[in-house]
Symmetry: D3
């Protein structure tokens, strides 16, 4: 059966690769710091007592597996993430983290405003308006990092 | 009051610019064809009997006002739109149109698969899995345009 | 404590009223037929084998309690319901039922198209476009009831 | 091809109409003030520094194009908008603006409570409960406009 | 026709049962207190002035009809409700009430953390992260009930 | 700083554990088969050409990391997943897979109907009605596995 054949091939590849969870973790932690900077570290620290394994999965899976992939540049990844979080509109803290992330990987504030205006077309004006409030807060934090 | 002052200034700017709805429409129609190609034309044709004004707003506002703006390149705009539509997950027909659009403005199929994998992190595995089904259909249409 | 006092008062009112579930059911069934007509009856019939109690709750609660209330006219109720279902965008079958319902209580097809165009502003163009496809189907069913 | 024919006809109509963006803006600003009053003006003022063009689109498109249309009365439009924003449940600031708007165009507080109770049937009790908290705040602001 | 036959049978059953709304109310109030404790009473008290009938429907329908049903144990019901509210991610106050409820009917804090980690797989990491913040608050309230 | 200390401790733990991705994969594949059976294998096979890495992440992360955790029994996990997927309502194929999964780990059809009725209270009647349609299909597949 097709799934079994696929699974056997994957097992052989994974055995050849010999990757450990520690390697994924280290790759993810480096990527998380590169993208989200201090805002990412705060998320990790905040989960350390209550659900440390979810923080580990964020590092290992979201950043060590997905964000560390080679096939799409970081700028494009952050554009996609910011657009998603703005459209979902129930992820305000994460939207702020990734607005920082987008600025960290080279997007300008003007480009982010452009992107959030576009959110209005596909997810409605309220989603765009609320995302712009998150951007206002993040831009102010960048202007006054000690604030 | 602040809003009134802003409004007066905007009126002066708009008067100086003298832009007509016809100009917005023409700019939007050109942009829509550039981005969405035949898939966009089908959306317009499909609305022409039932709600022609919504089709006009799509052309005039979504493409003539927003998508025609200079501050963000088309590639980035399509990344944002595809990510949003995949995350919202209730916009399957529009996701297909913009997967075509993303390919039209230069994204590769591999880059789109990367983007949709990333959807899983922020909107959940089901959103990613269903978006990949849309991509499978769109990629097949590109392989066999007469199909 | 406040909740206990409120609860005691409600118990006295409910005792004085003496309403039975049968009365709510009959009131709800009449209202459901008035609003949704055959489309509502199909929903009830469809649930009768698998989850009959959910069908009863739909009749008793949604229509016998809520839709039968006096404080808002049926036309306004259907406008609200159609707008909600179009915005949620994951309730296509229910949107079709209530587009029929809205026509049944006196809204015109043109008014419904107006309402669905407005959905685009608050829930995004995809929600509006998909709701208009539902309207197209419902309007065709009205034009050809035997179809 | 159908879309091209439609587009040509629209261009002729738009040319004959000769409408400018300034006219749309003035019509929209009048409509926004009529519906949302001070709450709408605050939204515009709040965006003026960060994303003035989104505020303009709100005025020109949402109010100058859509809300100014003749085919549906303002009372019905506000019922639809309040119901949508309550159901989406991620648009609290906008829900407050349009609860004010609904009162401005003639709905009573009791009618709005009726509408929000009905939200519970289609979007779940949490959406209704949270929308009623928004209504509580808005009703208090109306009772004490200087508060 | 099928619906009419079903309706007639239900009317006979309801007549034989003779259940009153007062009975549903009493059953629901007992269930609500058993599950949600003080947090549930606060919801009821909070609605008593603005929309008392919605509070009654919550008691009569949500708890007197649905939560009082015999076919699924309370522990399983609370797992389902917490998972839904976390996934919907726009129901923070209700999520807190039902995190209390889940603890009240016997789930441990560790089990709830497990459940919320799992939310990340299906509704995305942001939904899981935000639900864990709600859990942190609820767990602190349990540790310091007078706080 | 707190995050760095946490990260160092995790690195030490992961080094001591020495877990490889192959181990996670094997654990996940076993769990996926236990829970979702053939429906899960079909998902994996379906992704193998287009996005094999997403299928691997589903096995390694969703099942090898999360579903394989010890702190919550499989029955409870499936209740949570079915409730989430029904509430999100944009995950119909995944809802079907996990309705099979819930039956595989010991829930009865009657218990699932109970759970889906409860969805109506928190996510609205449309979500419950549409989830019950999914259940109808899944129950029929169980009755006629060759169908």
């Amino acid at each position: 059966m097709k799934a079994e054949v696929t699974v056997q091939r994957w097992e052989q590849e994974l055995e050849a690769r010999g990757e450990t969870t520690l390697e994924r973790f280290r790759r993810g932690w480096a990527r998380l710091q590169e993208v989200d900077g201090k805002a990412g570290a705060r998320v990790v620290a905040g989960l350390a007592d209550l659900a440390p394994d979810l923080a580990r999965y964020l590092i290992e899976f979201a950043f060590g597996d997905v964000y560390a992939r080679a096939g799409l540049d970081l700028r494009s990844r952050e554009i996609g993430t910011v657009a998603m979080l703005a459209a979902l509109a129930n992820a305000r803290p994460q939207l702020e983290v990734h607005l920082h992330g987008a600025l960290n990987v080279g997007l300008s504030q003007d480009e982010l405003v452009e992107l959030l205006i576009q959110v209005g077309v596909y997810a409605g004006f309220p989603a765009a308006l609320n995302a712009l409030e998150a951007a206002r807060k993040v831009f102010a934090e960048r202007a006054d990092p000690g604030g």
